[in-house]
Symmetry: C2
């Protein structure tokens, strides 16, 4: 069937034709897409729910003037299926995919809540850091040089070549926010800080290094956009969705996206005076890395590549992932403050509080990016969140 | 036409059908392939020469038990054409390519001599280091993130995905020579040194790092096998051939192959007592890097990527290419001594001289690989070739 944009009736007919709905059932359908790129229909029939998701040929929030490849629907379905193979509990189930309609059927997750909402509301999410760490450790390891033979990996790198979506990240994450650009969206009170940031030559050097690794370091099949709006959570459950940015890139990018989003929530709650919750976010950040590192090291011990089995190399590899993660977390903090796409954690704050939160996000982001180029580890996060006055010996 | 292996008559018919030979001319044809992977026919008619090169579906020197993709003929033709676009004077002309017969027509270079032969015979080759540096700087820059837009580069990375040939390098370059392996070919007198080398944990860590970068660092379209048997040379002329190992990898691999091959020749002449020629090789080695760095820096200044234009980043990038190059040069020295494929520079020496040359190659290779993991530059080569006794202050 040639591609055409679904309305509710078409979404229902699609799910029915694929055998996911009883033939004569009453079906309700609501379009719930709040992202920027897709139509998302929530179908309900006989007490059971389903999601039909279809890619639009343009960026939804901008309109038809910004065309975007439909192939991202294939990338999303294949990335989710690939990750589900090795980290099944943490990935939304893709039940079916139609490569001509660029539409897929997914399990209904409406009993869960977006992680970003929970973080904004100051809810402690049990097991959050461990689940995210397991998800990333298992899926990143399984599609790395440690686990795949050279031929197999190279075929996957081509299969998951995702130039158009990568370019969005290349531009919005690494280029625009670090200079004056029409796509930026800068809160007026924050502009002087932005202009100061753009003068920091060391920072720009470090961002270039991080961008270069994003471009040319296909370590593993990344989710590519694992921010807290791509994660659903509920009691004892965590599910990652929205993998259209999937591609082979540096592991630290996914790991850093998680850290960056926890720190964005931290900036919010710190400015709201919710110190206990801010402390919980800090702990989750550290726990997330520690858990990831432990799980990843365990998996590394099983590599069958004779050369890559060297322990010293593996330990340096993990250390580089950690440095990358801190750098990419820093970029996330800055691009969510100065770039096109803001997050409600900060953008929903009023006046002075927003200014204060953005100031924190920029300072934290800058320090993380600079630190990523030297010797650093996750403990840096703690030091940055609790700056103490410099003391000199008497 | 379905694939079949050419004999002389078929090679002539192929060139004729493509319009490269006069219809009724007398044509002479000699099979001159001395490599491991292909048939190479040298055709002559009416005083003009032509090369017809056809890929065999197996590794020639091993036989039909080691099958090998014919697709490498496409890779070779497309790599040579891509490099010729930006470094025309230094690349053999591909006049035609047939994707079904995996055969191509190339210009005749029989007026030139293989660089390895000149180096073995101790000839000084005018302009050698500058030509090789220009060839690599121009071709590596043009197919890097500095010069290509993200989409364009990602399409090329897939086009030049070369899993089977890369695997040969992954195995023979990085894995086998650093441990006991049936594919190794170790001169009896050298075996004790090999066994000592295999115990060096720091070395194995460094080799793992270099292998990982070979696997997952698509910085540019490499030649992939630019040893001195892939270079033809004559007065005022240098032509690179044999690009079937072309793929997107770390620039330092090609740069290091050149340095490694100059140093293999150095090991030969040092042991033969040809000190003047050894000194010339040393100078060429240093000049090659300096010239490459100068040329590459000039090209870098023209990048249109706003983020990658940062000067500090570019200087670190060049420095990393230099470190990689020294590391890969070290691997070349070791794999040509212990691995499957030796070079005549050393293997043609007799008894004690061969042992001495191999000892030098291993020591030099080891130092270069270890040094590549820290702070180092091309000056290291000079220090390694002229070890002076350690002096302590009185």
């Amino acid at each position: 069937m040639p591609y055409q944009t679904f309305d509710s009736a078409a979404a229902i007919a699609f799910a029915q034709s694929r055998g996911f709905l009883p033939q004569h059932a009453e079906v309700s359908c609501t379009e719930i897409g709040d992202g920027n790129l897709n139509l998302v229909f929530h179908l309900r029939a006989e007490g059971r729910g389903l999601i039909v998701k279809q890619a639009l040929p343009y960026v939804r929030c901008v309109g038809e003037s910004w065309p975007l490849t439909l192939d991202r629907a294939r990338i999303e379905a294949e990335t989710l299926l690939a990750h589900a193979k090795v980290a099944e509990p943490f990935v939304v189930k893709v039940l079916d995919f139609d490569p001509e309609l660029y539409a897929m059927v997914q399990e209904d997750l409406s009993h869960l809540v977006l992680l970003r909402r929970r973080l904004i509301e100051g809810e402690r999410v049990d097991g959050l850091s461990a689940d995210l760490a397991d998800y990333l450790a298992q899926s990143l390891y399984a599609y790395s040089d440690f686990a795949l033979a050279g031929k197999e990996k190279k075929a996957l790198v081509s299969q998951f070549s995702n130039p158009e979506l990568c370019q969005i990240t290349e531009d919005l994450f690494f280029t625009d926010p670090f200079r004056e650009h029409e796509r930026n969206d800068i809160f007026p009170a924050t502009r002087p800080l932005a202009e100061e940031l753009w003068q920091d030559v060391m920072l720009l050097d470090a961002v270039a290094e991080l961008k270069a690794r994003f471009l040319s370091c296909p370590q593993a099949l990344l989710h590519g956009d694992v921010h807290s709006g791509s994660v659903f959570s509920g009691p004892g459950e965590l599910k990652v969705i929205d993998a259209e940015f999937g591609f082979f890139g540096p592991m630290g990018f996914d790991v850093g996206s998680v850290i960056g989003n926890l720190l964005l929530a931290w900036c919010r709650h710190k400015c709201l005076g919710n110190q206990d919750y801010a402390d919980w976010l800090e702990e989750e950040c550290i726990n997330f890395w520690q858990h990831f590192e432990d799980r990843f090291k365990t998996l590394l011990a099983g590599t069958e590549d004779l050369a890559l089995a060297s322990e010293g190399y593996q330990s340096r590899f993990i250390n580089q992932v950690q440095k990358d993660a801190l750098g990419y977390a820093g970029c996330e903090l800055i691009r969510r403050t100065l770039g096109l796409a803001h997050v409600a954690d900060i953008a929903s704050l009023e006046g002075g509080q927003r200014t204060e939160a953005e100031k924190r996000a920029l300072a934290l982001g800058r320090s993380l990016i600079l630190a990523s180029q030297g010797t650093c580890d996750i403990g840096l996060v703690r030091r940055l969140l609790h700056p103490s006055p410099v003391r000199f010996a008497a």
